[in-house]
């Protein structure tokens, strides 16, 4: 079973993203929902994770800092990180991809957009 961690301070966003992921074929995944980057970091350290979906704008630790921590860790740097944000234009997307994100999507996300970014999950 695939393990997916969703980090967003909004329950609405977490539920919406989870629903979209279920629609595109991850209905059987083990979803772990957290409210900020620090909690996400603890979760991905705790167990092998297939995908981390994170917001950017979060309290405590934001998504960009979370991405830097993950890509800077020898144990976690292989983890695929998808950023879903309302605060992302082309400039931000390019910066996040350089930091190691596997994709960047703008809110509101859709199952089609997720499916396109995550086709490697189903290969």
């Amino acid at each position: 079973m695939q393990r997916v961690v969703i980090a967003d301070d909004s329950q609405t966003a977490r539920t919406f993203i989870r629903r979209c992921l279920e629609i595109i074929g991850l209905a059987d995944a083990n979803f772990v929902e957290v409210e900020n980057g620090r909690e996400a970091l603890a979760q991905v350290k705790e167990a092998e994770t297939d995908l981390l979906v994170t917001d950017l704008n979060m309290p405590v630790m934001n998504g960009e800092m979370l991405l830097k921590w993950i890509k800077g860790s020898p144990k976690l740097c292989h983890l695929k990180v998808l950023v879903i944000t309302s605060a992302g234009n082309a400039a931000k997307e390019s910066e996040l991809m350089k930091l190691g994100a596997c994709g960047v999507l703008r809110k509101p996300v859709s199952p089609a957009a997720l499916s396109q970014k995550l086709n490697w999950l189903f290969a």
Binding site: T12, N57, P59, A87, N89
Partner: protein, 145 residues
């Protein structure tokens, strides 16, 4: 129509249509009196300082929630109306700045604040009204314009 009007309209319609599959239309007038509404505000930090706020009837929030989360699957939490409103505003705010600013212009926004203190009526305050189904709601911008 000014660029800022177009940016607000696109941000609101894109958000509601994609998130809640709801058609939204601009209207000249606001809510009829007597409707109970909820308000949230969010600050723009960079490249300009300002505030965006949304005021929306509880009945419309309930409709949006029902559309998005009507039949939750096992283990799925249904968000509260307050959380839904905060995320709506967060999404509208980001879409608005993406529409308004050049693609290579970085921007930074704050976190949504629910039930913010009332805004002073200033020359830089502008409000847009919208209708979704049978409900009206409004978006206001201050200091940006």
């Amino acid at each position: 129509m000014e660029k800022i009007d177009i940016a607000v309209q696109r941000a609101v319609t894109d958000t509601l249509e994609n998130l809640a599959f709801m058609e939204v239309f601009p209207v000249p007038e606001g809510l009829p009196p007597g409707q109970t509404e909820m308000t949230a505000a969010l600050l723009f930090h960079e490249p300009h300082q300002g505030e965006i706020r949304i005021s929306i009837p509880l009945t419309l929030l309930a409709d949006i929630s029902q559309t998005i989360f009507g039949t939750p699957t096992e283990g799925m939490a249904v968000p509260s109306p307050r959380d839904l409103l905060a995320e709506l505003l967060n999404t509208v705010a980001g879409r608005f700045l993406i529409e308004l600013l050049p693609e290579d212009q970085p921007f930074r926004i704050g976190l949504p604040e629910l039930d913010p203190p009332s805004l002073m009526e200033t020359e830089s305050l502008k409000t847009w009204h919208f209708r979704a189904d049978d409900h009206c709601f409004s978006i206001s911008l201050s200091n940006l314009i």
